[in-house]
Symmetry: C2
Subunit: 570 residues, 2 copies
Amino acid sequence: MKIAIAQLNPTIGNLTFNAKKILEAAQKAIESGANLLLTPELSLCGYPPRDLLLDPSFIEAMATQLQIIAKKLPPSLITLVGIATPNDRWHVTGGKPLYNSIALLQQGKIQQIFHKRLLPTYDVFDEYRYFEPGGKSNDFAIDCDRLEITDTANERTWKIGVTICEDLWNDEEFWGKRNYPHNPIAELAELGVDLIVNLSASPYTVGKQALREKMLNHAVTRYQKPILYVNQVGGNDDLVFDGNSVAFNRSGEVIYRAANCETDFSILEFDRNRKDLLKTLIVSFPKCEEAEIWEALVLGVRDYVRKCGFSKIVLGLSGGIDSALVAAIASEAIGAPNVLGVLMSSPYTSKASIDDAIALAQNLGILTHTFQISDLMQAYDRTLKPLFSGTKPGVSEENLQSRIRGNLLMAIANKFGHLLVSTGNKSEMAVGYCTLYGDMNGGLAVIADVPKTRVFALCKWLNTRQPGTEVIPQNILIKPPSAELKPGQVDQDSLPPYEILDDILHRFIHHHQSPDKIVAAGYDPNVVTKVIQLVTRAEFKRRQAPPGLKITDRAFGTGWRMPIAARRSP
Amino acid sequence: MKIAIAQLNPTIGNLTFNAKKILEAAQKAIESGANLLLTPELSLCGYPPRDLLLDPSFIEAMATQLQIIAKKLPPSLITLVGIATPNDRWHVTGGKPLYNSIALLQQGKIQQIFHKRLLPTYDVFDEYRYFEPGGKSNDFAIDCDRLEITDTANERTWKIGVTICEDLWNDEEFWGKRNYPHNPIAELAELGVDLIVNLSASPYTVGKQALREKMLNHAVTRYQKPILYVNQVGGNDDLVFDGNSVAFNRSGEVIYRAANCETDFSILEFDRNRKDLLKTLIVSFPKCEEAEIWEALVLGVRDYVRKCGFSKIVLGLSGGIDSALVAAIASEAIGAPNVLGVLMSSPYTSKASIDDAIALAQNLGILTHTFQISDLMQAYDRTLKPLFSGTKPGVSEENLQSRIRGNLLMAIANKFGHLLVSTGNKSEMAVGYCTLYGDMNGGLAVIADVPKTRVFALCKWLNTRQPGTEVIPQNILIKPPSAELKPGQVDQDSLPPYEILDDILHRFIHHHQSPDKIVAAGYDPNVVTKVIQLVTRAEFKRRQAPPGLKITDRAFGTGWRMPIAARRSP
């Protein structure tokens, strides 16, 4: 039996577009002689549809669209499509009005519906907001002669277990704890299925694919069943789905892997006699974390631009490392000629900054435009003078410079229909070393989940990618970071060195370590207290930040839900 | 038996402050001869604590604080305190690591812990993100002679059922459907409890108290048990908790109501023989929706200012009705002398706007400052000229005016430590008739959930509140709304009349009506299509908006979770 795998990149809510992509994959599947086509979780509406699911007409439209594609699909092909379906008994039994389902289509009809059983409700996931968990195991039988689905399971049928994303993520041996009361994989193994498929929309974080493969290997080894995992690909707001669909044979070997951060289509062979998946194409996964992150960020930018209907990007180029990295990502994502870098120098801007920004733009081949902002700084001073005279210049005046730049960039974005992207890194976002309505401006915060130390690492990696080709000018890599909002200012005047800052932040944000525990790791108690205070006080800024591409398991964004008017006290 | 009710206003996360408030209430309770003290849901940490709950040291600190107050409370007083407690078996059984609990304290000890059974996971509520539902009914027995809790229930004891907020919201008779599989009230009634208490943190929306009382009345009538509902009060970011704790006797009569939008402390009598609550003070509830909304918004502003550590507010005064209403709310919330209204006139600003803004400021008694922004407009024109020359002035230039104003206001906020509040209404936020990084600037969006037609109604009501005292100048009420960003501009140039717009928006946003259904209600299909398109396209603006005070059941904010890079298609 041949199994086609469509690693699709749906647009959230665009049912006709997504249906078209499923039908195209089906056409290819039939041409390749495949009998079964697998598509990702919620492939018809894209993942995550979020509150579109609250709209009954959207649910109806999805059901209608499913009927349409059922008719258009090649009749013999068994196709699995991800779709939200109504829970018809919710009024009576209590519970949520929808299921996160997979529809099995064949012969122009919906033959079976399977429901997701484990509903992630943590971090960026809100599935229990919308869905009722499915109550029973999901499997279907294929007659291995006629390659049609059949009601009767016997020696001449294959039994295939269907799981949806999180259904796979509850092995108490692997995690050292139970995450949910049930384990769908164990239940399917007990039912004696011959193959387990897992249709997913699993977002990227650093090291995630390695984790997935370790987990899949554990499940295969434990239950002795081949597993085929199909993931969505594409950027959807803050989430980047990296694809990397993968299959393991019964011996626990990777026998197939799809592309990283690209759509893909493949055919796998399920061996009749051995009841196992046969080895096929294995796309190699990026070699290092920097390469992984780079590809995820490029995809995230490309898809946000495309799916929002833009074609060009504008960004501020300060001559610093953050905007250099973002400019490089943007150039790779949509092509350097579509990127406009804007230099906005003030009296505090060093000549080196301008030279570095220009050198970067030349390396990348992007357009630039240069403004002087001193005229505007003076105009604000004149306007504010009646109220500000006698006060000492300080944060207010520094923020104004950043906000003048933010306004100029937005003026360009509005005038020419470009997407403005912001360039702040995660360390800055954490401690609030950024100006709301200034350098935070933009439709997408490209590196908001990349700590400063990682920004350096990415830039260094980028320079080694094509030996002999410098992307980030050397001077940008070696000079001390500065916001250049007053004479001689460097970041380290007001922040601890980034190696220290980033480690404290990582302990606090990712590992929820208490101040005492962070101090016990060898840090100055005053520094720890100050950093935590800064993080807490910057909550109001983060609440108003643009979506930031998530690359870690704890990003500021849809999965970070902190109160503002709050105070932590012992 | 005397029951003390503490309608508290906790600060989220401030355990020592909240503990102090509970201890103060206990002192008053003892002085009044009370035997039982009730406090709201999660009274120790405040509701909603959101992701503070993910921090194990915060959970430990709460447990420690509970031990401390157990020791400090008057020993004879039975005190119910809301607290998040660990689910010790979550690793083993699967599920969430916490419960949303009530601790029963007496004699210096935690005598019992009750867990919330129905966990709201919709709109602004994310309880399933953190909590495991409690599995069994919660009740305790009080020896009616010694007025102590006792293990043995008999004729000489009262049995009291404990429910937490949502536990009360699942009467299939009342709602016409089941919301959850269990009904804790029915189960408690079956156990034969003598009294049901409901400890809540129920946020305000228009008409919510009338709904709560109707629902409580239904439950009392159905189960013939007196019910005592204790609510939190206070503003926490976007949510305003209105208090209005209320009690019903067995006949279904309201026999007690606490203050609207204020902290309160009261003593109720539970009659030994009749096993019923006796009539006591009933605070009257605001007479009309406008009064209700007004009090909620005033509390929301007051608490956001106070809990964030501010004491003064700055806002832009355009001479329009939105900023007039927000200035009036701010004045009532923190006192007119603490409010600074800033007039920022451009060449497009009419003399009437300036006069109206000044008249408003005089009526309220707030300070004002006036800027001319034409110097800054020209400076931006000069700066942008090399890039913009040959283009037609349009949205980019209009937005610049708004952003100049936004920058000036933020400069003042930063310089003097004031809180900037934004003044956009819900109709504008819905269709994106507002400028990101311009008039959307601020720490709090005061009327972001108030549709424009309601803004008018509130202002008219305000003028009748104290007969003979005009608050909002008449001209502000009668002139056509305008953003004054180009000559002769009025809102209705680009938007349908607000009566039509608001009704379409209400149908689309609150009732999830499809375009067809809205058209069927009598609206022009082109207008409906355009409005829905505007709403969808403005998602990127709303994502970056400050928290807005919620007054409806579908506010843009923590309970509105829409994708941006998405497209609705049939």
